[in-house]
Amino acid sequence: MTAPLLIFFLLAAVAVIGALSLILQKHPIHSALSLIVVMVALAGLYLLMGAEFVAAVQIIVYGGAIMVLFVFVIMLLNAGEEEHTDFSKIAKFAGLPLALALTGLLAAAMVRHGGSVANATNPDSLADTSKISMLLFSTFVYPFELTSFLILVAIMGALVLAQREKS
């Protein structure tokens, strides 16, 4: 078992455990933390795959901005432990098995079809950030511009939502 494989399994285990604890934790802030753990683990996996830039962005944006926002909101609303209600019958009885079935099916599908994916030709090319930026500004320039627009809209929406209506 080579070192990368070892690291992979380590990080994978961390990620899965984090995901599980996201589910099992009663308190949202713990869930948030476990999610952060998952994200950091994923960042590690990206590094392992040589996608350094994406890894960094994953941590900076996901870990450093989005999840901070979550934690912030949790703290702001001072959310307590979530109460265990079961008004939705279908969710109570069918929900869990269905979701598990989904997991199993996805995994199975990946096992069957994922093997067909050819392995990396020259992975070190993935390390190159400038290539990504070139791609971003040449092939994907319109989506890129669109995302800027999306963000603008999101900002406005957030402002409108968050401001207390003046009375």
């Binding site: 008004f87 939705s88 989904l102």
Partner: protein
């Protein structure tokens, strides 16, 4: 700087009136009459000058070099598959004549209108419409393919609709407008069918290519394609022409169109628009030359219309209606000319007619103006002293239309009748009917003159005080009078063995068309003299009769009317044609649409289906809505189920095979 500046930028000619229309239409409401005048007049005047210059360039520079029509594609308008309709304009001798007539007469009538409409409401609106009409008319005559021509064709229809209904507060006016529009639609239907047929056969609607293609099929009189494409196409186009030019059976709208202001009647319903039909037939002469049938139809209908309208004209009492029917009848003459293959003669008559008929209408307008809006000739009389200039000009015009030499119409009518007579193969009836019509024309025109200007005033003098029109109305009258005197002289030399300069000028367009009529010179020459004399005699006869009836024994007409009651009534009611149409066409249509289309198709079928769908949707909704519990977690489960389904379909081979075709269809 191109050598032919205006010719290179031909679009400037129609553009100017459009600009005028736009400016007046958009801002005119706020402006004083003076500014509106300036805009309208300058736009039309400028385009008249441009037209002159363009004509000069074409005749002196371009044609001598190229010996072909000037043709320029300005931009692609419609390009679909192998169909291309470009915004192409062209200029040839025919166009020169038309453009000059349109812009010239149009300009004069604009001037006249500034006086006539001075006290009307919606002044700017009127001039905006008028300029718009000029624009479309110029497009029509300058067009280099049937599509652009059709644009102008419909455009002038629109403008005429707007102007007939100018006094839209009067129900009769708006009705007349609608009538004109609808009747024209019938004609346009034929016109469009004609275009489709042509495109289907020749894969182009461009005059140049189209005519060259046809000319290429070396055509000889003996194998004229009877009932062939030529015939059908020609007749379909002629159907459109009937609509525009108020020929039987579609003439009914023109008399009602007199509801519009008099300048409009002069410009649109006498001088220019109604002649568009003649122009189209002349433009498409190549089909008619290749189809005896089409020619016969055109000739017969023209002839019939001429006579028919003339007879109605005999008894009308409304001064403008008389002129309207005379217009119809004159148009009939032009079609008669086309029918006998004398296209240049037809165009010639078109030109002269434009002069004297415009003059007649304008003078009539001036009379009405003087009478303070009175249009019924029975309440006029003895005006000759009071409004000298109007009288003089109108008298000239009447002489002209009656065909008294050496006035314009004499030459044009003469050449028409001549060629009708010369054409071999049983065309003489047309000649004789034409002659008879000339007689009638002379009669009813002079009836009009006598009723209006001679005798004792039949109106209450204290109430109406007659006054001469201002100079900006009289000016155009004078100019037109001069034109209708000398307008015909270009063809005059023909009488003295010279040659008919007009037809010579148009020869490049109509080419061999007249060749058929070419018989040996000497015989033709003295025949021409004979016919001319005959025509003059008939005209004089008509005048004499009118004089006898309406000046010597003013009682006689009433007696005559009483003695021949049925005939008189029929004529007075225009042969009951309107009633006939109402009964035969309108009524059934109304019944059909009410009882079948509305009560059955619309209510039962369409509404039924729609409501049924709606009810079905409601029913389904009522049952399904319970799934919407408002509980997000249930929704989450539904989402998961959906995802499951998708994965199953994608990755379960059996299922995938099942949806694969659909997928392929989607991706394709």
């Amino acid at each position: 700087m191109p050598t032919q500046p205006i010719l290179e930028y031909l679009w400037i000619i129609p553009l100017l009136p459009l600009l005028g229309a736009a400016i007046n239409g958009l801002f005119g409401a706020k402006w004083s009459n003076t500014i509106v005048n300036t805009v309208a007049l300058s736009s039309t005047g400028l385009s008249f000058l441009c037209a002159l210059e363009a004509a000069r360039e074409f005749v002196t520079d371009y044609y001598p070099q190229h010996h072909d029509a000037f043709h320029k594609a300005f931009f692609d308008w419609i390009v679909a598959g192998n169909f291309r309709a470009g915004f192409d304009l062209q200029m040839d001798q025919l166009t020169v004549v038309m453009v000059l007539v349109v812009t010239g007469v149009g300009f004069l009538i604009h001037i006249y209108s500034t006086g006539y409409m001075a006290h009307e409401g919606g002044y700017y609106r009127f001039f905006s419409y008028l300029n718009l009409f000029m624009f479309f008319m110029l497009i029509l005559v300058l067009a280099a393919n049937y599509v652009v021509l059709f644009v102008g064709w419909e455009g002038v229809g629109l403008a005429s609709y707007l102007l007939i209904g100018f006094y839209f507060l009067r129900k009769s006016a708006s009705d007349a407008g609608k009538k004109a529009f609808i009747v024209n639609r019938i004609g346009d239907f034929g016109f469009m069918l004609g275009m489709f047929l042509l495109f289907r056969t020749f894969h182009t609607l461009d005059f140049h290519d189209l005519f060259n293609q046809i000319a290429a099929q070396n055509w000889k009189p003996e194998h004229m394609w009877e009932f062939g494409t030529m015939t059908v196409a020609g007749l379909l186009l002629f159907m459109g022409a009937c609509g525009k030019s108020a020929q039987l059976p579609l003439y009914v709208w023109l008399p009602d169109a007199m509801e519009g202001p008099t300048p409009v009647s002069a410009l649109i319903h006498a001088a220019t628009m109604v002649t568009a039909g003649v122009y189209v037939v002349a433009r498409s002469h190549i089909f008619f030359e290749r189809s005896e049938t089409a020619l016969v139809v055109v000739g017969t209908i023209g002839c019939a219309t001429a006579f028919f309208a003339a007879t109605i004209g005999l008894v009308q009492t409304d001064i403008k209606r008389v002129l309207a029917y005379s217009t119809v009848s004159q148009l009939g003459y032009m079609f008669l000319a086309c029918g006998v293959g004398a296209f240049s003669a037809g165009i010639f008559h078109l030109m002269t007619h434009a002069f004297f008929k415009a003059l007649l209408f304008l003078a009539a307008g001036s009379v009405i103006h003087a009478m303070g809006g009175e249009q019924d000739m029975r309440h006029m009389g003895g005006l000759s002293k009071k409004i000298k200039y109007t009288f003089a000009t109108m008298f000239i015009a009447t002489l002209a239309i009656a065909g008294i030499p050496p006035l314009a119409a004499f030459f044009s009518k003469d050449s028409i009748l001549l060629q009708a007579f010369q054409r071999e193969g049983g065309w003489h009836p047309l000649y004789f009917v034409g002659l008879l019509t000339a007689l009638l024309t002379a009669f009813y025109m002079f009836r009009l003159i006598f009723l209006t200007f001679w005798g004792q005033p039949r109106y209450d003098e204290h109430h109406v005080h007659v006054h001469e029109s201002p100079w900006n109305m009289l000016g155009p009258l004078v100019v037109l009078a001069v034109l209708s005197v000398i307008g015909g002289w270009v063809a005059a030399p023909a009488l003295w063995g010279g040659k008919d300069y007009f037809s010579e000028f148009l020869a490049p367009v109509f080419g061999s068309g007249e060749a058929a009529a070419a018989v040996d010179e000497a015989a033709a020459h003295n025949l021409e003299w004979k016919l001319a004399i005959v025509a003059v005699i008939t005209a004089v006869l008509g005048i004499a009769v009118a004089y006898w009836f309406y000046v010597r024994q003013p009682k006689k007409p009433e007696d005559l009317a009483k003695s021949m009651q049925p005939v008189y009534k029929t004529l007075l009611n225009k042969y009951y044609v309107d009633e006939l149409y109402a009964a035969a066409i309108v009524g059934p249509l109304v019944w059909l649409s009410e009882n079948v289309l509305w009560k059955v198709v619309d209510v039962e079928a369409i509404d039924g289906t729609v409501n049924g769908i709606a009810h079905g949707a409601t029913g389904i909704g009522d049952t399904v809505r319970h799934a919407q519990s408002g509980n997000t977690r249930s929704y989450a489960v539904w989402v998961v189920i959906g995802a499951l389904a998708i994965i199953l379909i994608l990755f379960w081979p059996a299922l995938h095979a099942l949806v694969a075709p659909a997928q392929a269809a989607v991706t394709r």
